[in-house]
């Protein structure tokens, strides 16, 4: 255990965004502390997700962030030689109704217009691309540069890069308060002691409001659990990440199939539990789009907590009323993929520069200041029947 000392910048939260922000700040010569309350980095959503790295199906406002993040994931893999199983095997978003086919066609045109290589495929082309898809799949949008990585190794690798660049990582260190003077944070208080600092980054995901509350703020998102399950390994049946019919399926390097998928109306909360109804949906809908699932067994299921924003897009901005604090949260299930771009953006904001990745559509100001999103979310959410 390191004993605490003062640092120029304190990053709160050791997930993919926090570790990346710390890395890029250290690359610019800043003296950075990364504060993580668990005994390791990446123990929450950053280490519990399915590792998807996807530009396909992205909203126009977040596509630049996804595209920039793919470049950064490639940088971590190719330039820094990160052994985190990052494979660009492609992402297939599929349609099982004529209505979905028309939506995908329009979306392919829109994504291509934004500069993404995405192809609308059907028939024999689709069969050749992904031979084991169900015949009920009518068409798909295929993005060949998309893929997936092993999130557990990825987050540790980025943390290691940050450490090598001089970042001090304080584990088992929980932030308890923020000392303010004249609209600026002067110190971060923790259960291990106090760190005087010049700037603070809040990358605590679904816990971001615990930190925001310490400066009298509240950000518009809700915490919501999501579930995943994995099968026993089987002979190769799938190369790409496929999604449709409210589920996704992707292979692991060990040969398992990972199945997951949340719902927009899932109840909010912090309960990391698995439910029979959700695993039942993985089994039924998963086998509907990808029949080989029927030949194997589920071996593990787990859950993690997402931060859901009102429009399902990340919120990246300066903390209102605080001169020297930036935050990112509300990624709504895409935070692993966009983590590197978001971390780099936060680092640039701390350095007082205009972010190189456009985040105009991801600012806090797009929401009304008096929005009570939690109440609105609770009204429309409901458990599965």
């Amino acid at each position: 255990m390191n004993s605490l000392r003062n640092h120029e910048v304190v990053v709160i939260g050791g997930g993919v965004m926090g570790c990346t922000a710390a890395y890029f700040l250290a690359c610019e010569g800043r003296d950075v502390a990364l504060v993580e309350r668990a005994a390791q980095v990446g123990t929450e959503a950053s280490g519990r997700n399915a590792g998807g790295i996807r530009q396909n199906k992205r909203h126009p406002a977040e596509l630049p962030m996804a595209m920039a993040s793919v470049k950064l994931w490639q940088f971590f893999r190719d330039e820094l030689r990160g052994p985190f199983e990052y494979e660009q095997n492609g992402n297939i978003a599929l349609a099982t109704s004529e209505e979905e086919v028309r939506a995908l066609e329009a979306e392919a045109v829109r994504l291509q217009g934004q500069g993404l290589d995405v192809r609308h495929v059907r028939g024999a082309d689709l069969k050749e691309l992904c031979p084991n898809l169900s015949d009920t799949v009518l068409a798909a949008n295929y993005c060949p540069t998309d893929g997936f990585a092993n999130p557990i190794l990825a987050i540790r690798f980025i943390a290691q890069c940050a450490r090598e660049r001089g970042v001090t990582i304080y584990l088992e260190t929980q932030v308890t308060g923020l000392a303010m003077r004249g609209g600026r944070i002067t110190a971060v208080q923790t259960n291990q002691g106090e760190v005087a600092t010049e700037a603070v980054v809040n990358t605590t995901g679904p816990w971001a409001n615990e930190i925001a509350a310490m400066v009298g703020g509240r950000l518009p998102f809700v915490p919501r659990p999501t579930q995943l399950a994995v099968t026993l390994p089987m002979p190769p049946v799938l190369r790409q990440w496929i999604s449709g019919d409210m589920v996704y399926v992707r292979p692991t390097q060990a040969g398992n199939l990972l199945v997951g998928g949340g719902g927009p109306r899932d109840p909010m909360g912090f309960a990391r539990e698995n439910t029979h109804s959700r695993i039942h949906r993985f089994a039924v809908n998963g086998a509907r789009i990808f029949p080989p699932l029927k030949r194997t067994s589920m071996v593990r299921a787990w859950a993690g907590i997402l931060a859901i924003s009102p429009d399902g897009l990340a919120i990246i901005d300066r903390m209102p009323g605080v001169e020297n604090m930036v935050f990112a949260t509300g990624c709504s299930g895409t935070g692993f993929c966009t983590g590197p771009g978001t971390g780099k953006t936060l680092a640039e904001m701390i350095q007082g520069r205009v972010p190189t990745i456009p985040i105009d559509g991801l600012r806090l100001s797009r929401f009304p200041a008096d929005l009570d999103f939690e109440a609105a979310y609770q009204r429309q959410s409901q458990p599965e029947p």
Partner: protein
């Protein structure tokens, strides 16, 4: 890769585990499972747990008794996907009654 196979489901050797502890700064059995895949296979660690724990304790220089077992995940034993596809096979909806006992934020190194 050489070494003696400890986890027969995932074909993980003692060399793999020593290398992972060295490469990734590992301090717990849960991390060994997450990184090496030892205990992630069909038996979910029932066969290899004692062997792996003995090795990890030896490498870390700690008493094996101080190492918590990795998190237990539902469904504990492999369950055919088609069985999960049948409706009404459990009485209540929440099935993870074991996992909350080992919350990661409460995980401690020693």
């Amino acid at each position: 890769m050489g070494g003696v196979t400890l986890c027969r489901c995932e074909l993980v050797t003692d060399e793999d585990i020593k290398a992972a502890i060295d490469r990734w700064n590992v301090h717990s059995m849960n991390e060994v499972k997450l990184i090496t895949r030892a205990g992630k296979g069909a038996c979910q660690g029932r066969c290899c747990f004692s062997l792996v724990r003995a090795l990890v304790a030896y490498v870390l220089g700690v008493d094996p008794g101080t190492l918590l077992p990795p998190r237990v995940r539902l469904p504990v034993r492999p369950v055919p996907v088609v069985l999960f596809g049948r409706p009404g096979t459990t009485t209540g909806d929440t099935i993870s009654m074991i996992a909350p006992l080992q919350d990661s934020s409460r995980e401690r190194r020693t």
